[in-house]
């Protein structure tokens, strides 16, 4: 990211309002808004405060990288935004849903409709083909088998794996497996993609390909992408970077 772009992002943040942020002259909706969020875990009798009174606003269509040392609370923050967890205090509003007030069942349904997940270890089912793995989220939608198949093939085409639809994960390289994961993440057209160390298990070449793909999804398909990474080179590809340390955004 150039210095000019960084300056623009900083200016955007300053102009954040309750309803949205401004990018240039265009009003952009805030898709993620966290206010006074704290997350506390108990390790036996010991209280561990992972996130402390955290505020965050992410505009729709952003590609943000979340960095920080191990144990800084990056994944916890991502889990709260993705609706996998609820804060101990504070409010989490994502894609027009107030997550801390929703029950487990409500958040599960909300996740299926709004969030695409990309994991470091891919988490593909080894007994299914690439296409069947991508179809997995669609099993929850009321779609015909042929429609599911068509959408899965389209998603695999977007990630450049149209010639690997019948391959099982064990027959694919790490980079290809991560691309299948990305296809699975976008197949139900979610608003937000959360990626937790998506390049963590990949070599530089494959990591760059995955980052190119995420960039493409952000630019061409206007997906909001939140990426946790340790890798400065990966973070460099995001349009905005945030640093988390000891549960606080720097």
């Amino acid at each position: 990211m150039s210095e000019a772009q960084s300056a623009q992002c900083a200016a955007d943040e300053e102009r954040q309002g309750e309803q949205g942020v401004y990018r240039g002259t265009k009003e952009v909706k805030t898709i993620v808004k966290l206010k006074g969020v704290s997350k506390v875990y108990w390790r036996g009798k010991e209280k561990v405060e992972v996130l402390h009174d955290l505020d965050l606003a992410v505009p729709e269509g952003a590609f943000e990288a979340l960095m920080g040392p191990s144990g800084s609370g990056k994944t916890t923050l991502l889990n709260l935004i993705a609706g996998l967890d609820v804060p101990s205090s504070g409010s989490v509003r994502v894609a027009d849903a107030q997550l801390e007030t929703m029950g487990e069942a409500g958040r599960t349904k909300w996740r299926a409709e709004n969030i695409g997940f990309v994991f470091q270890t891919y988490n593909l089912l080894p007994v299914l083909t690439a296409q069947q793995n991508v179809e997995l989220p669609l099993l929850l939608a009321n779609l015909s088998s042929s429609e599911r198949k068509r959408r899965a093939q389209t998603a695999l085409k977007i990630v450049g794996l149209e010639d690997r639809v019948r391959h099982r994960p064990g027959e694919l390289s790490g980079g290809q497996q991560q691309r299948v994961t990305i296809a699975r993440a976008i197949v139900n057209d979610p608003k937000i993609i959360v990626a937790d160390e998506p390049t963590g298990d990949l070599d530089r070449h494959n990591a760059d390909e995955i980052l190119n793909l995420l960039d493409k999804l952000n630019r061409e398909f206007e997906k909001t992408i939140l990426m946790v990474t340790h890798d400065p080179a990966a973070a460099e590809r995001a349009s905005h970077r945030r640093h988390l340390d000891k549960g606080k955004l720097q």
Binding site: N79, R111, E113, F117, F119, N123, L125, V127, L140
Partner: protein, 392 residues
């Protein structure tokens, strides 16, 4: 692809050795269950399939004390007032094959004509019937017995008498089959006259028991009472009961064995549940991360539970089917034939019943699902964040 097919893929697509061993373990336990159930049904077949319109009359004190043959004549004379349509008599002979003394089979002396009327489930050709009735030394044997000793129609055989000592010669007049499962197909029936004419004066005109056929099967209790009343003031008093009640009273003597077999069947199924439950629990533990991913992308706890139970159902069903595939040739063709030939008195019809097949399949799948209940609940209750954090 649906959750059901995903469950099946999980069963068949991963850790094949463990899956095959588990299916084999389920198959073995279900096979033993089928075998034990078949023992019980075969043992109780006599009572279950016994004729309801036949009454057996024996000495009041014991089955082994003889009755005068004149009792049969008396019933025959009073058959209308008693509600009896026909009567015959039998006498235990206790013959043995001289060369194969340990091979037990029943040898019973009867009056062929009345016997074939009362026991109309004995199937013989008209020629065989005629041949038997006409030949004083004629005997008819069950097809199982014929196969066992390789006896054929026209063969002359010699049996060694135990109750009636000496060597007794018979000619095989016919080989019967049975239209009713309660009939022992390894019995030798022969002329009562043959022994009656050969014994001394004191043992003459003695019979073991009487069998009467009644007009109305629903009146067997009343007719039994009337028959016993007829001989109440005689030296040898009688006890009459329906053939079914008689068979049931025999079963009562072995009820402890039957109960034990039933208990073993239940224990066997419990072992199957534990094996299956352990396998499913291991699989769930190994796939925690995958379940976490599925929960993250929107699968509800019930979906995860359904999948886990589906896997157990698949293993249970495959194990049950494999058990049946093994059981049919081994029990029906091998063990069943052997028992019918050698122990036809106890197991006249040793075959796998339809209800046993259904019970085996239903229990294999239902108990499989039950075995998966705890792992399924645990998988469904997984905390998504913790599950995603777990490796392997």
């Amino acid at each position: 692809m649906m959750l059901g097919s995903l469950a099946a893929k999980n069963v068949l697509g991963r850790n094949r050795v463990r899956t095959l061993l588990t299916i084999a373990a389920v198959a073995v336990t279900i096979f033993v269950f089928i075998l034990l159930r078949t023992f019980i049904t075969a043992w109780t077949a006599g009572a279950e399939h016994a004729a309801q319109d036949r009454i057996a009359t024996r000495h009041k004190v014991s089955f082994v004390i003889a009755l005068p043959k004149s009792y049969a004549d008396k019933i025959q004379m009073n058959k209308d007032s008693l509600g009896v349509t026909d009567v015959t008599w039998c006498n235990w002979f206790g013959g043995k094959h001289p060369q194969r003394e340990s091979d037990f089979f029943a040898t019973i002396a009867v009056d062929p004509q009345s016997f074939l009327r009362v026991y109309d489930e004995i199937q013989l050709s008209p020629e065989e019937r005629e041949s038997w009735v006409q030949n004083r030394r004629g005997a008819v044997i069950g097809d199982a017995l014929a196969k066992k000793f390789d006896w054929k129609v026209g063969d002359s055989i010699t049996l060694e008498g135990t109750i009636y000592p000496g060597n007794w010669e018979f000619e095989i007049s016919g080989i019967y089959t049975a239209a009713r499962r309660s009939v022992d197909r390894s019995t030798l029936w022969f002329h009562w006259n043959y022994i009656n004419e050969s014994v001394g004066q004191r043992a003459k005109d003695q019979i073991g028991w009487l069998v009467s056929r009644v007009e109305d099967a629903s009146r067997t209790a009343e007719v039994s009472k009337n028959i016993d009343a007829m001989f109440e003031d005689r030296g040898e008093q009688t006890t009459s009961m329906s053939e079914r009640a008689l068979q049931t009273s025999f079963l009562g003597m072995v009820s402890a064995i039957l109960t034990t077999i039933n208990v073993i069947s239940v224990v066997i199924l419990a072992i199957m549940m534990l094996i299956l439950g352990n396998t499913i629990a291991m699989a769930v533990r190994e796939r925690t991360n995958e379940y976490g991913m599925m929960r993250a992308i929107g699968f509800a706890p019930r979906h995860i539970a359904t999948m886990v139970v589906g896997e157990a159902l698949t293993i249970g069903l495959l194990g049950g089917l494999l058990a049946l595939v093994l059981a049919y040739p081994m029990i029906e063709q091998g063990m069943g034939r052997f028992l019918e030939e050698t122990m036809g008195g106890f197991f006249p019809y040793f075959r796998i019943s339809g209800s046993t097949v259904i019970a085996a399949l239903v229990l294999a799948t239902a108990l499989g699902a039950l075995a998966a209940a705890i792992p399924a609940i645990r998988a469904a209750r997984l905390n998504v964040v913790d599950a995603l954090r777990r490796v392997g």
